[in-house]
């Protein structure tokens, strides 16, 4: 039995492994960083720590709606993610010190799913970039693609160089 937190971004329902999440915050002031890659939403002050927020929608390729993201999912520090086996050891060395968050539109419930309900990522994830997902969870006739934290926090070299 594994636990996931469901969330929504630009109308897509997704879920994130609960073990990757440190905390969730409602709307907060995010300082945009000029000239940053498009998928970086900005910087957030979390009790004196500067968190780099990634716009989950921009990252996975959803069609951006209007209005700001209302929820911020702050992920655990990299070391904790690695211990939990949620990121591989080959994560970019530049990220060692970073704490990263995901900006989303809404956060839903904690869902529980048996291992066997997890399936391989279907090829047609309705326009989303399949590389960012590590399977799906089916629950009550709903399908929640599982966000692969390891992929989402990786530095997009092409976007950075632009």
């Amino acid at each position: 039995m594994k636990q996931f937190v469901t969330c929504e971004v630009d109308g897509c329902a997704l879920c994130v492994p609960i073990g990757a999440i440190q905390e969730v915050h409602g709307i907060r002031e995010i300082t945009p960083v000029r000239r940053a890659p498009e998928y970086v939403a900005g910087l957030l002050n979390l009790r004196g720590h500067v968190i780099t927020m990634i716009d989950l929608g921009a990252r996975i390729g959803t069609e951006r709606g209007t209005g700001p993201r209302e929820q911020n999912i702050v992920l655990k520090p990299l070391e904790a993610l690695r211990r939990a086996g949620l990121v591989s050891d080959q994560v970019d060395p530049e990220l060692q010190q970073d704490v990263i968050g995901l900006a989303v539109d809404a956060v839903g419930d904690v869902i529980e799913a048996e291992e066997d309900v997890m399936e391989a990522t279907p090829a047609n994830l309705s326009g989303l970039q399949a590389e960012f997902f590590g399977g799906v969870v089916r629950l009550d006739n709903c399908v929640y693609p599982i966000v692969d934290v390891s992929r989402v926090i990786r530095i997009d070299q092409a976007a950075c160089a632009a």
Binding site: T31, V33, R35, A36, V40, R47, G48, V50, T52, L95
Partner: protein, 890 residues
């Protein structure tokens, strides 16, 4: 074996052993320098240190570590007991053994696989034959010299093995390029070709023959050939004594990595290039006092080392928390603003403020380390270079107790090493050259650290040959670093500082020590990266001084907060030179355009302007003067100030100058290294101490920011990277701009302008005094003016100062009777004297720059310099000192 022991035990052993090794190195040099005089206590200390290393190693069963340290211990015991006299070769072996031990400690589990056979063999040689060389000191020199030179080669390497297998006989050949090549009038190429046609040369470190020749320094190589003993020297066209055959026995021993057997008798090798025995004696003669003081200081350092070892990451965390505490305090202060009805709360807040400052200070201090830690390795570095090049160099350290943050120490270590290597390699001449120039044979490198203006200065001072600005100019022109016109105009000091320009290296020859064409520019880049600067000062023949200016800490920096629209940014205060506020009416006269770039006329320079909004991709706006709503700014350039109705609004001399009126420009004049420009922003806020936080890896390519911080009100803001912004604006490539700026500067010199203060006494009469003639300008309430007879006085800094009314001295309108206050101009008195009096005037109009020439004035009187016209008004220029001094005389 690792499983047998607690990891922490091993860790402890490594840390302690490293410290011991660090202490051994300077001690060994000290012993070598002083010979017998130092022995005793210092040798004991080395012995104890190496003994501890051995003890730990044998307990933890690190055999290689134990073996090598045991041999070192044995040799040291012989020295301690007087059975072996310390000499440069012995020190060499011991130092190299220390290096090997360090290598083993770097990866202690693999320590047994570190190759140390050579060192062991040499140590054994001293252990066994220890007594013999000490008894007859004279013949020791030659074999020791050969050993020393033979040990420079890697006898185990593939190339050497194959050479030894094929060739017979094998010679050790010494080449002194100055004598053998240049003086014989043959080319290096010819020599190389000849040598290669006769056999196979093998150089220490596998170096190329050509490279060694190009360096111009004496060197030796192993030469495998078929030529017989007496033919080899002739064929190589070298003097016979430079070519000596290595006996089969010697070679056999060497290739088995044991040099135990004495070198064959025919190896009559000339004296090593730098007879170290002599050096030691000379050093002692030159500076006996210094040497006496040194051991005491070093001993004290060892004894005072009773400290607690704390993990660095813990300290870092502590410092981050302290930084956050500072931020929290700032936020609390902001939140408390306007809550004055709670006196007890204010007291609490004050207390918290004090404690916070104290904690911050102490935590910073825990991370401070004496720069001596970095300096300590330089005597060794210099010694090795000096021995290699046959130079005599003394190293003096001072200010080793000056403390800077650990992170700063780490960052200055490499640049400093580079400078010192350069110094030993290029700056200090050979003993003969020095003697010929009437200098002491031994050169000196002084490394000094001291505090200056909240920063630390590290100076590297040598008494070498100095840098020739003329040579630099030629070389820089050839390499295209500067144009010939620029070269003509540059001062000697500017020329010398070109050594830090990218792509510039003064080394005419490349040596393996330094001077590979990259170097000083990397030094500058690295020092500037940490917010410091580097400068060089040199006199030909007398020496060179390199100054590094470094911050005490990187963690908390004062910064100026500036805004563009709703975005706020921090600019590190260290790169801010000044702030210029160009008002709308002055835009036309002060901001111009040169080759598509906006420039600011600042005094007599043209400063390139960079609009931060453009760099950051923010739409430029201006604020409506009344509604304060932002409107898009459609001007293509700053100098396009639209005339028309808006300019009528500008009648606002008494108004709030802080209002963001659309024509005003706030310019932060910033400098990073040699890049200087004006940064145009919308708003300026306070200065604040900020805690720099690194940016995420996702933002590494965003060149305009160097970090982020959290402000007093809890917002995250980014910190501007001044150099990065300049690069994005492509400032440095703009040669046109530079030329224009220079032309402008030379023109400005012809028409001198001066800064003056414009003021009035009676309405409609405008006067000016040069700013340079004023000491102070103060508002004066008239009821504080006291009278004595017809004289008036004010209390000025504890003494009474005579007040002169302008109308008393000059035929001008009187001070308006209805005014309750005026301004007191206090002229600058003669050097050292107290002010003689002040001039009372009614209104200060402005501080401006105007042209210096003026016509004779229509009024006459003391202190009248002349009259000129400024913006259609007649202005009478006065000398305030003459006004008051005359008054006092009367």
């Amino acid at each position: 074996m690792d499983t047998l022991f607690d990891d922490s035990l091993v860790q402890e052993f490594i840390t302690e052993s490293r410290e011991h090794l660090d202490s051994i190195e300077p001690d060994l040099l000290l012993v070598e320098e002083q010979g017998k005089a130092a022995a005793g206590e210092v040798v004991h200390r080395i012995f104890r240190a190496i003994h501890s290393v051995k003890g730990g190693a044998s307990f933890l069963a690190y055999d290689a570590l134990k073996g090598l340290s045991h041999k070192m211990e044995s040799v040291l015991m012989l020295i301690r007991d007087g059975e072996l006299e310390i000499s440069a070769p012995i020190t060499d072996v011991l130092l190299r053994s220390v290096d090997k031990l360090r290598l083993m400690l770097d990866d202690v589990t693999a320590s047994d696989s570190v190759e140390c056979g050579e060192e062991s063999a040499l140590l054994e040689q001293y252990m066994n034959g220890g007594a013999a060389p000490a008894a007859e000191a004279q013949p020791e020199a030659a074999p020791a010299g050969t050993d020393d030179r033979l040990s420079a080669f890697d006898w185990q390497s593939e190339a050497m093995r194959s050479l030894l297998a094929k060739a017979s006989p094998v010679y050790l050949v010494e080449v002194i390029p100055a004598e053998d090549i240049s003086a014989e009038e043959r080319t290096a190429e010819a020599f190389i070709q000849n040598t290669l046609s006769l056999g196979t040369p093998f150089l220490a470190g596998g170096e190329e023959l050509a490279a060694a020749l190009a360096a111009g320094k004496p060197f030796t190589f192993v030469f495998g050939t078929v030529l017989e003993d007496d033919l080899a020297a002739a064929a190589l066209e070298l003097p016979e004594e430079r070519v000596c055959a290595l006996s089969a026995e010697t070679l056999d021993n060497l290739s088995k990595s044991s040099v135990a057997a004495p070198v064959a008798p025919q190896a009559q090798v000339p004296q090593p290039v730098a007879p170290k025995a002599e050096t030691a004696v000379e050093v002692q003669e030159i500076a006996p006092e210094k040497n006496v003081a040194a051991p005491a200081a070093r001993a004290a350092r060892v004894e005072n080392a009773e400290t607690l070892r704390v993990r660095l990451d813990l300290l870092t965390r502590l410092m981050n928390s302290a930084g956050e505490l500072v931020l929290a305090r700032n936020q609390l202060f902001k939140a408390m603003e306007g809550m004055n009805d709670q006196p007890q709360l204010a007291a609490l807040l004050q207390n918290m403020d004090r404690v916070t400052a104290e904690i911050q200070g102490s935590v910073m201090q825990t991370r401070l380390q004496p720069v001596g830690g970095v300096f300590g390795k330089f005597p060794r570095v210099v010694r090795d270079i000096a021995r290699k090049l046959g130079k005599e160099i003394e190293v003096n350290l001072s200010g080793t107790e000056v403390e800077v943050d650990r992170s700063v120490i780490e960052l200055i270590s490499d640049p400093l090493t580079h400078i010192i290597r350069n110094c030993a390699d290029h700056a200090i001449e050979t003993p003969d050259e020095r003697a010929a120039n009437g200098k002491p044979r031994s050169g000196t490198i002084e490394i000094a650290a001291y505090h200056e203006g909240g920063q630390v200065i590290v100076a590297v001072i040598d008494d070498g040959r100095g840098i020739d600005p003329e040579k630099i100019r030629k070389s820089a022109e050839k390499k295209g670093v500067i144009t010939p016109e620029q070269g003509q105009r540059m001062s000697d000091s500017d020329l010398v500082n070109l050594i830090f320009a990218p792509g510039f290296s003064t080394a005419e020859q490349i040596t393996d020590v330094s001077g590979r064409g990259v170097g000083m520019d990397v030094v500058r880049t690295n020092i500037e990266k940490l917010g410091g600067s580097v400068e060089v000062d040199s006199r030909i023949g007398a020496g060179t001084t390199v100054f590094l200016r470094i911050p005490l800490t990187l963690a908390i920096v004062p910064a100026l907060l500036a805004g563009v629209q709703d975005d706020q940014f921090a600019v590190p205060q260290t790169s801010v030179e000044e702030i210029v506020w160009v008002r709308a009416k002055d835009v036309k006269s002060q901001i111009g355009r040169v080759h598509d770039k906006d420039v600011l006329r600042l005094r007599n320079t043209l400063l390139p302007l960079v609009r931060l909004a453009d760099i950051l991709g923010i739409e430029r706006t201006f604020e409506h003067p009344e509604t304060h709503e932002p409107l898009p700014d459609r001007r293509a350039r700053l100098s396009d100030r639209r005339g028309g109705t808006e300019s009528v609004d500008f009648e606002r001399r008494d108004g709030d100058r802080r209002t963001n009126w659309r024509g005003d420009y706030r310019i932060i004049v910033v400098r990073s290294g040699r890049t200087r420009y004006g940064l145009v922003v919308d708003r300026l806020f306070d200065s604040e101490d900020i805690v720099m936080k690194p940016l995420s890896g996702h933002l590494k390519n965003v060149r305009c920011f160097s970090g982020a911080t959290i402000t007093g009100d809890g917002r995250v803001i980014t910190v501007l990277d001044i150099e990065g912004v300049a690069a994005m604006a492509e400032l440095s490539q703009n040669a046109d701009l530079q030329r224009a700026s220079e032309d402008y500067a030379s023109k400005q010199e012809q028409t001198t302008r001066q800064a003056v203060v414009l003021f009035r006494n009676a309405a409609r009469e405008t006067f000016a005094v040069p700013q340079s003639a004023l000491l102070r300008l103060e508002r004066l309430e008239l009821d504080t003016v006291q009278t004595l007879g017809s004289e008036e006085f004010v209390n000025y800094r504890g003494r009474s100062l005579p007040v002169v009314r302008l109308e008393q001295r000059l035929p001008v309108g009187a001070f308006p009777a209805h005014l309750q206050h005026g301004y007191l101009l206090v002229p600058k008195p003669a050097a050292g004297a107290a002010p003689e009096g002040g001039v009372l005037v009614s209104e200060i109009v402005d501080a401006i720059e105007m042209k210096g020439e003026c016509e004779p004035s229509r009024i006459a009187g003391p202190g009248v310099l002349g009259s000129t016209v400024y913006e259609g008004e007649m202005v009478t220029l006065l000398d305030p000192a003459a006004l008051v001094s005359n008054a006092v005389l009367n």
